[in-house]
């Protein structure tokens, strides 16, 4: 596929989840740790939307744009994030996520990181220790992520291919970003574990299950995808 921007207009794209089901929280979260989570997610979501708009417009779905607007409306301060143990691994992950073309935008942002985001939102929306506002945001975030991954899978199938043709491309392009995830383990547990019950292992389990399922739906061999993820996790 050409490494140029993919066509398609955001408003015309088909999406899996309707944002009609997703309402903004009536009261924004005020807890410091919750605001830290949303400051963190806003960085990733803004970067993703920026890349979708530049390189793969069909992924800039209405749900994703709506969700970024919700996050922008929060009064989050990035200073606590920058001062936290999360800062270094997050910056490393963001650096590896700075896609420079359509191919890496589709695979790194549209598939891998969107599944990571969905895993975080899935865990967060079910944690009883979070405020209703944060849980509502997590529901909105997950719906936005689903709309993108549905679109990304369709775009990948059309422009890159499926099955054995896709696997080597997926493995090569996704390696760096998946390999950067392990640095988040202790910081995520330290910051969010006790307060939220949001543990890195749960997020990683959700993430792997979601990504493997998406990859097999694209025809990739499950064993190969599992081996790829295992190799990246083991640093090999």
């Amino acid at each position: 596929m050409p490494r140029s921007a993919l066509g398609g207009t955001p408003d015309a794209s088909g999406t899996a989840a309707s944002h009609e089901d997703v309402r903004p929280p009536a009261e924004p979260p005020v807890d410091e740790t919750e605001l830290l989570l949303w400051a963190l997610m806003r960085k990733f979501e803004r970067l993703a939307l920026e890349h979708y708009t530049t390189h793969a417009r069909a992924l800039a779905t209405a749900e994703k744009r709506h969700f970024v607007v919700l996050l922008d409306a929060l009064e989050t301060d990035e200073a606590p994030l920058a001062a936290s143990v999360l800062a270094a691994p997050v910056e490393e992950l963001l650096a590896r996520a700075r896609s420079t073309d359509a191919l890496s935008t589709l695979i790194v942002q549209g598939l891998v990181l969107e599944h990571l985001g969905q895993a975080i939102y899935r865990v967060a929306k079910d944690t009883e220790r979070a405020s209703p506002a944060s849980r509502a945001l997590a529901v909105a975030g997950r719906a936005a992520g689903l709309s993108v991954t549905t679109q990304a899978s369709a775009e990948i199938a059309e422009h890159v291919g499926t099955h054995e043709r896709l696997y080597p491309v997926f493995a090569e392009v996704s390696q760096e970003v998946i390999a950067a995830l392990d640095a988040l383990a202790e910081p995520v547990d330290d910051v969010f574990g006790e307060r939220f019950g949001l543990r890195f292992a749960d997020v990683l389990g959700e993430f792997a299950a979601g990504l493997i399922t998406a990859c097999t739906a694209l025809g990739m061999q499950r064993r190969k995808v599992v081996a790829h993820l295992a190799g990246a996790c083991m640093g090999l």
Binding site: D182, A185, F200, A201, D202, L204, G205, E206, A208, A209, G210, I212, T213, T216, R222, R223, V226, A227, L229, A230, G231, C233, M234, G235, L236
Partner: protein, 228 residues
């Protein structure tokens, strides 16, 4: 090779002991499970012969260290008369490790006189055991998938930590003898998740249940490798 053979030989003996514990708990399946135990004991004996034929002294100390945690869990489930927990632990998790290593080993087995026959027989037997356990659990949890998920998660918490941890501890040794530690680990994870699916869990739930516990072991492996 000494560590791998130690684990294979003494691991098969633990497997025999576990099937005997299961036979004691269920009279109706007792004869069959005692036959499974005999098969496992024969694997241990044939692996010992292969070891001797190749002048490999099995590392008993390593095996004892790895198997101690497993024996503790087997005893715990046996004391609780929890046959189904033993079925998942032995019939699925432990057998998944065995299959994930014996199967690729066959590709290089000819480098070790006698190994092909011994490991091919063991692999076929382990698959037979897994098939029986799968049928048993499918019948037992027919229309009770949530209950089965509860059982799997209960057993996984320590079972995957223990047996998956052993897989991580032998990954480097597998690389040394010409296998891929990563591929074997992936084979165990994928194989075990597939068995849970065969009983009735959906793919996503099965993968999540296994990877939530397995992935941190892989990350831990990476930290250990980095630390040298």
């Amino acid at each position: 090779m000494a560590s791998l053979m130690g684990l294979a030989i003494f691991g098969e003996k633990v497997a025999a002991r576990t099937y005997v514990a299961m036979a004691d708990l269920r009279v109706e399946h007792g004869d069959l499970l005692r036959r499974f135990a005999s098969m496992e004991a024969r694997h241990g004996a044939s692996f010992l012969q292969v070891s001797r034929a190749n002048a490999v002294e099995p590392d008993r100390e390593f095996a004892d260290r790895e198997l101690g945690y497993l024996i503790e869990q087997v005893d715990h489930h046996a004391r609780a008369s929890d046959f189904d927990a033993l079925a998942v632990l032995q019939g699925f998790i432990v057998e998944s490790l065995a299959i994930a290593t014996y199967e690729p080993f066959l590709d290089i087995a000819d480098a070790y006189p006698g190994a092909r026959q011994a490991f091919a027989t063991a692999l076929a037997d382990e698959r037979y055991h897994v098939d029986w356990i799968t049928r048993y659990l499918r019948l037992r949890y027919f229309d009770a998938v949530d209950e089965f998920l509860g059982l799997a998660e209960h057993v996984n918490t320590r079972g995957v930590d223990c047996v998956g941890g052993t897989m991580m501890n032998i990954a480097d040794y597998l690389d040394v003898v010409g296998l891929s530690g990563v591929d074997c680990a992936a084979g165990m994870l994928d194989g075990y998740a597939g068995l849970l699916e065969n009983v009735g869990l959906d793919q996503r739930t099965a993968l999540r249940s296994v990877t939530t516990l397995f992935a941190p072991l892989m990350v831990k492996y990476r930290r250990r490798e980095r630390a040298g």
